[in-house]
């Protein structure tokens, strides 16, 4: 019974971290219809940049964090301006592939600047875990969950009520119509990429406090895709709900299936979920079904 509680708590909190990264993906998709396959690598480079600021340059937290946010904003702006803007209105294959190439490039940059591939951030959260009943959860996870929820709230409100947010939704729906209305589409793309990179940076900081900075961050980025697929590509609510669901499936499935089958079952569960969702309900739980016409 104890294990069940532990698995559930771990699952939900880990899932909230996935949800945080998934929010960044949904943001870009909702506003520009571009699938950002370089998500994991953006998380990675933000984590390393944080390391660079806090450890290598030795800056204090109150100076380091704003710099990381600035870096993320700048990165998002650069990506949109130089990589995506020339490809506006290209077929989706080009857009997806260019983000793949971008991800590859970012991995190379990370290996180039920080070739020792594995390191740790200075301790940002107290190390004492919190006790919930008989289960424990480390503070980093709780902070991650809390931050995800806050960001989800902010983003939903922004997209629903803010003028810019509504403009973003309109752009994802029909670019030409939006341009006809006089809304600067390029500014919208810029803004959404910048926000997405900031989200990735926050996710990166949280995840590296949990497990250190390794290439595992990229794999966690891939698991965020399963969250996005399950929840629906253009739904923030979907991301927040699907995140813990995937986390639960991973930990409960892994926890109870592993003694029966093979060790390591936990890693493959998110991907099996993707395949199952594809067969049953491709647009996810809360996603919008697109109706295609010739």
């Amino acid at each position: 019974m104890d294990e069940l509680l532990q698995f559930v708590i771990t699952g939900i909190t880990v899932g909230m971290v996935y949800a945080l990264i998934a929010l960044g993906f949904v943001l870009v998709w909702k506003s520009s219809g571009v699938a950002n396959l370089a998500l994991g690598q953006l998380v990675l480079i933000s984590a390393w940049f944080t390391y660079g600021m806090l450890v290598q340059a030795g800056l204090p937290l109150w100076l380091g964090f704003p710099l990381v946010v600035l870096f993320a904003l700048a990165l998002g702006w650069i990506i949109e301006r130089f990589v995506l803007r020339p490809l506006i209105a290209q077929p989706i294959l080009s857009l997806i592939t260019v983000t793949l190439g971008l991800g590859y490039f970012i991995e190379g940059v990370v290996t180039f600047i920080w070739p020792w591939s594995v390191d740790a951030l200075p301790r940002l959260f107290p190390r004492e875990p919190l006790h919930i009943g008989t289960a424990v959860v480390s503070q980093e996870y709780l902070w991650a969950a809390a931050i995800s929820l806050v960001l989800f709230g902010l983003l939903s409100l922004y997209f629903k009520y803010n003028k810019m947010g509504i403009a973003m939704r309109a752009t994802a729906d029909d670019q030409m119509a939006v341009q006809a209305c006089g809304i600067p589409v390029t500014k919208i793309f810029s803004r959404s990429w910048m926000f997405a990179c900031v989200l990735a940076a926050v996710g990166g900081i949280l995840m590296s406090s949990i497990g250190g900075i390794t290439f595992g961050l990229v794999e966690t980025g891939l698991k965020a895709f399963s969250v996005v697929i399950l929840g629906g590509l253009n739904s923030f609510l979907g991301a927040i709900v699907a995140g813990p669901l995937i986390g639960l499936a991973e930990n409960l499935g892994g926890g109870y299936l592993t003694p029966l089958t093979w060790p390591g079952v936990r890693e493959v569960i998110p991907f099996i979920i993707i395949i199952i969702v594809m067969f049953l309900k491709p647009y996810g739980l809360f996603g919008e079904v697109r109706i295609e016409r010739i």
Binding site: T10, P115, W116, G212, F215, N251
Partner: protein, 421 residues
Amino acid sequence: MKSRRLLIVAGVLSLALVVATLPFVSACGPEAGEKTLKIGITTPSTGKAAEKGSPMGHANLDCIKYINEELGGVNGYPIEVVWLDNAYDAAKVVTNVKRFMDEGCLMFATASSAMMTASMEIANRAEFPGLACFNAPILHRPPQHIYGQMTDYGDDWSAFANYYMENIWKGTGKPKMAMHLLNNSTGYGALDASKAAADKLGIEIIAIEEHTATTTSEMESLTRIKALNPDVLYISSTPAPTALIIKNAYELGMYPGIPIGLGHAGITKALVDIAGADIVEGVYGVFPTANWGDDVPGMAKLIEYCLELHPKDEGNADYITSWAQSLILAEILRVALENVGYDVLAKGDVESWRAVETQGIQKLDGYDVEGLESPVSYTPGDNRLGKSLRVFQIQNGEIVPMTDWIEAPLVKYEEFEWFGK
């Protein structure tokens, strides 16, 4: 439009230039005519195991530099090193070894046991001798052309298990051990040893869990282990995942509580850095080389070169391991040179490889490696050159030896029918 065209034309021209000069560039190499002894070294200096591979590559090259510049090479012949990074990728290491064979290297050396597992097939087929720094039973049982610089991961487990039974276990009956293994030969080496020896030692293995090198959370597997109430936990892995597991164990309240033992791949300074000295306080581990700062003949030069060339690696036990490896490589070449002469070795083909193996490696007898590890010798039937190790414990962020040199007995794993399957 014009500027785009210009860009494309420039790109095509540069590509053509590169392709055209390929044959010439490949012809440029070391000046022909200079007599050298060529060896190949490949380390995972980038990629998933870079926290070990990077200092190891540095140490290999620094030591060769020391031998060439201050000792005048091996009996006057400089050692020429073909050093290639394998990024912890099995296909890359195979192409690297093929290249070593093509370029006339006399033997090759790897850092990681997983990389040697990948390349031992073609090396054994071609009779190209190899020296594995980190060793696992599968590399040298049954013995062929791959030699281990030190004891293997199986020996680590046996040594720790023995130490635990004699010094730490105070209860009655059989202690329950849980094992957490990296999913390659590093982890499986320990598993092989436990399968061969646990019963004899009187230890009951209650749980075997696996993890990947890039894992971000092991709460789930540790929860399962915790439910089985183990008395001791053994982790055979590299520093980064080991740090994560110990951290998770701390969060679950398992540690401090039950003793944790590590294989020699995990107990290095990188572990203390990544996890934080307070979390890993009191963790045991096994390591087969000297400690940083020990009073042994080879330590002074090692420290000098490290501080001058790679100061960030100071205090890292992997640096010592690879420096020792280069010393052993030089000694093998020296012995071979004395036994067969330079002309046989100059050819760099199968004849030379056989000479290096039978007249070099297999004639090693008590070379002291300047005190940096236990003396290396070859005994027929046992491809491990170094056979002793020590048990350590992390105290106040320092890795402190708890025992003297313990000799690890030879285990003929191939006699077990489950071995290698």
